[in-house]
């Protein structure tokens, strides 16, 4: 088994009614509950909207977000899967794509 990091990017919530929000939430809940039932979910966390970027030899500190909205990471999870193909397959059921977001799937380095 390999661990994979999923980085959730983009998907700023467009205006929608409270009931639509609830439906979106229910989709995410169903997705996570599926991962939990499979016993492969190790960690999950949302991120604050902004932070700091420390950069360069001078260690300059900048306010985030640092990129275009669609590239901002707003959450992550850690999951176990046999292969990257299997991890990618799992990511495809994520409801983030309904909101034009993306998932970056990265295997955790093994050795």
């Amino acid at each position: 088994m390999t661990e994979f990091l999923f980085l959730f990017r983009g998907s700023q919530m467009a205006a929608r009614s409270p009931d639509q929000m609830q439906r979106t939430f229910e989709k995410w809940r169903a997705w996570f509950s599926d991962l939990e039932q499979k016993g492969i979910l190790k960690e999950r966390n949302p991120l604050e909207r902004s932070g700091k970027l420390v950069q360069g030899r001078a260690k300059d500190v900048h306010d985030g977000p640092y990129t275009e909205v669609k590239d901002v990471v707003n959450g992550y999870l850690l999951i176990e899967a046999a292969t990257i193909d299997e991890a990618v397959k799992l990511s495809k059921d994520c409801p983030i794509f309904d909101d034009d977001g993306s998932v970056e799937v990265r295997p955790v380095a093994k050795l």
Partner: protein
């Protein structure tokens, strides 16, 4: 979701009402923006982390913090609720004041204030209902348009205009003024009644949307009942009427959303808990001498609720009740319902006679169930060609696909050769169907 599949919707209505008290009714849009923003953030976090233990408190805190930001940033430049201006100015009083208004009881009171405000006498009944749905039930313009089968632009125009009227009213309705409250109460009851009606008889083809409207009406009536000035006998009667009738919702349509006539409904599917609640509310409504139309309609619903089946229904009592209703609330539709009850008790010929005796039948020509009633009774007399003719007229007047399918099915029954079934009220109409006469949103 904590047993509440509409948590976001309900919390939105509560929080927008509460923040409007602080921001002032002219800043309703600002309150809506703040709540929308807080909810977006909630969704971003919850979707990954899962729902917090106390989601309502979470949403309230998120909205509170955003509201405080707005108040601090704009308190010198903007005008908020005039009666709170001095408390907003000082940092010492700002946070305690906001927290006081966002306490649970106070939020409930704000919701009620907003409900009373939405029923402003300058607004038409249809506009009041639309405003209640938009602000208190947090239905979007599109959701309202789809519930009422009307266009987005028309609904938007109506809402925008109504909100302007609301903004001009300077402040939210004061729930502590007994005389004003009693003056406004009938309009609120009426709007909630129409909201329920829209769910029960209205245009939407989606069963879930229809029951949403009924459930929202029941929920808001319960809010009214929590206030000492709101819990009058007629409010109890209204709540009883909605609850007893709402109990039949699960049996009222089949799995494809087709209407099922009352006599064909599987009474096992009626919601027993609701029926019991409804009977209790009906009892509470009899706490004074006041007798409203809601009392009588609730009593009719209770007679159906107590019957084992259509044949076992106490039609004598129902006819007597409709007699009283015609006196309090003369309406050709009430008379039609009475005539149908007579047909149930005495037979189709007497029923037809009663229909023909309705004063001003021309007021009923656009009401599809008028033609359908004539058709149903002719069918029972075995005059199939006349019956077909009436059902064709009903079909032509049908207001939504659900009614269209229902009449088409009755028309087909006229042409079929098997024995015609039929006893009990032909359709489920103990809530007086007024959608046709009040115009829809």
């Amino acid at each position: 979701m904590d047993g509440n599949e509409h948590l976001f919707r309900h919390e939105a209505g509560r929080l927008v009402s509460a923040l409007t008290r602080i921001f002032g009714v002219h800043n309703l849009a600002l309150a809506e923006d703040v709540v929308q923003d807080a909810f977006c953030r909630a969704l971003e976090i919850w979707r990954v982390r899962g729902m917090p233990d106390n989601p309502s408190a979470w949403l309230m805190t998120a909205a509170r913090n955003r509201a405080l930001d707005v108040l601090r940033r704009e308190r010198t430049a903007s005008r908020f609720a005039p009666e709170l201006a001095r408390l907003i100015e000082s940092e010492w009083t700002l946070t305690p004041m906001v927290d006081e208004i966002l306490a649970d009881d106070a939020i409930q009171d704000s919701l009620l204030r907003m409900m009373l405000s939405c029923c402003h006498p300058r607004l038409s009944e249809a506009a009041q209902v639309a405003l209640i749905l938009n602000i208190l039930c947090a239905f979007s313009i599109d959701e309202i348009a789809s519930a009422f089968m009307s266009g987005h632009a028309a609904v938007e125009k109506r809402i925008v205009r109504s909100k302007k009227v609301l903004a001009e009213s300077k402040r939210l309705f004061d729930t502590a003024a007994p005389a004003d409250f009693s003056d406004r109460l009938p309009a609120v009851q009426r709007a909630l009644y129409l909201l329920f009606n829209e769910g029960y008889h209205g245009a939407s083809t989606q069963t879930s949307v229809r029951s949403d409207l009924c459930n929202e009406a029941i929920r808001l009536t319960a809010v009214l009942l929590q206030h000492p000035l709101g819990k009058t006998p007629s409010t109890y009667a209204l709540a009883a009427l909605m609850t007893l009738t709402g109990a039949r919702l699960p049996a009222r349509t089949d799995s494809s959303g087709n209407l099922i006539a009352l006599h064909d409904q599987d009474r096992e599917r009626w919601n027993r808990t609701r029926l019991a609640e409804g009977m209790q509310l009906l009892e509470l409504s009899a706490c004074d001498v006041e007798l409203s139309a809601y009392h009588i309609e609730a009593a009719v619903a209770s007679v159906h609720a107590m019957a084992q089946g259509a044949d076992d229904t106490d039609w004598n009592t129902i006819i007597t009740l409709y007699d009283s209703l015609v006196r309090i609330n003369p309406s050709p539709i009430v008379e039609l319902n009475r005539a149908i009850a007579i047909a149930q008790r005495d037979g189709p010929e007497q029923g037809l006679e009663a229909i023909n005796a309705i004063s001003g039948p021309d007021r009923l020509v656009d009401y599809p169930f008028y033609h359908a009633a004539l058709g149903e009774l002719e069918l029972r007399q075995n005059d199939r060609s006349r019956a077909s003719e009436y059902f064709r007229q009903a079909l032509a007047k049908a207001r939504n696909p659900m009614e269209r399918r229902f009449f088409a099915q009755r028309l087909a029954a006229c042409e079929a050769s098997d024995v015609v079934r039929g006893s009990g009220e032909f359709w489920d109409s103990t809530v007086t169907d007024r959608t046709n006469h009040e115009g829809s949103v």
